[in-house]
Symmetry: C2
Amino acid sequence: MQEILDATQPSDWRPLDPANTLYLDLASGRVVIELAPGFAPEHVANIRTLAKEGYWNGLSINRSQDNFVVQWGDAAEDEKARKPIGGAKEKIPAEFERASKGLNFDRLPDSDGWAPQVGFADGFPAARDPQAGKAWMAHCYGTLGAGRDVAADSSNGTELYVVTGQSPRQLDRNITTVGRVVQGIELLSVLPRGTGPLGFYEKPEQRTPIQAIRLASDVPENDRVALELLRTDSPSFTQIVEARRNRRDEWYKRPAGHIDLCNVPLPVRPAKK
Amino acid sequence: MQEILDATQPSDWRPLDPANTLYLDLASGRVVIELAPGFAPEHVANIRTLAKEGYWNGLSINRSQDNFVVQWGDAAEDEKARKPIGGAKEKIPAEFERASKGLNFDRLPDSDGWAPQVGFADGFPAARDPQAGKAWMAHCYGTLGAGRDVAADSSNGTELYVVTGQSPRQLDRNITTVGRVVQGIELLSVLPRGTGPLGFYEKPEQRTPIQAIRLASDVPENDRVALELLRTDSPSFTQIVEARRNRRDEWYKRPAGHIDLCNVPLPVRPAKK
């Protein structure tokens, strides 16, 4: 894999768009998240407003469920005690899927048990149903989603979760996915598991405080993390997937001949100055 | 799922066999591991000897690679500095797979990209190739394997890893799997990630000391963790799989109609006295 990365061209890489990048700053460091307006425009618009207005600053990560997700938002149980959401919308539609038309979908040839087709769209792991004409972002390690209650349209982006366990693809098309972690997920995946139901922390002091969640575009340039992502429509990416599908190094005795969508690495590197 | 569990019969459960159960004791608590002699008899025999003789006591967890594995063993790089392995065998054969004949294999109807058939055998997630007449344990979250060097037969069970990330099924039939964690995996999955290559810790003080690894049968009865596992050949287990394959609660709007092998929960409970 490193050999393929070393041979990439600058044009194989794309920069993160600061206007669609979130920085989640914790005492332990920074988690960098790419938002996916192509999949969830209304949620991403709301999340951008919430970030701009500092909604999550001083709130906390309230849940860490082993082999599943971490989740943050307002821990107040009483609605009246909750932090006001400022200019963000209280109510927005569910965005579980989108029209596949107009979406650049780089299909993997590999079979998938959860969806008719899988691949990458805008650099995100995704699935597609050509008969229904729909596409959606898949729940893989690092996927960011918008927590909701029982009603499909009960998420507004204030409550967010990141997948930190085995890809929970059963959530696909049951909840709105809004982006993915591109750097620093290990700051989330090591958080102690909560001992309450669903991995919620039982005591407030067990929660991890959020110093700030900001859009990269609202952060002074010298405090930004300049990253590039390998384009999933580049020949180099195709080579990487094949190198992982059929490992041909000395160690592997039997190449798998297959790769699951959520096992495909999505290379990230510091942007060249 | 809880409703199905509540309705199970005592005969749906099996006790952990103390002679094939390992306790990995850390300062943070105990990890309980079920060994799989049916899949790797020579490795399990060696591991039982190593545990009986206290081989790992005072050694450490030396590696935590995000979304992949934690690994323990002797961190000494110089072979001469390594702890003697006592009555265990230095050299044993690779046990990547076994004959499928004689194995009770409870097949899942669900498709799998990595193997012709998947299901459960002796309670472990497993795969089978009927044409080749072979079966093997699958790499899921919690699977315990025996680390090796380049040579297929270079593992002897001294170096062990547990999967703490997205199921690395590409390892199937490339390495010997020897068991799985049945309780306490969250003590492993939250370990800080190592910053060296492959997630090895760069400084000795970053390693997690192993207080002891013992066979449950060598631990006084009042210090044992009595657990029962739901039999994977029981009707209750089939019901649980179906309840997860097609979630019919209020929250899920679209049942998946599919489940991946490594998404199937394997219920564990304290044994009734």
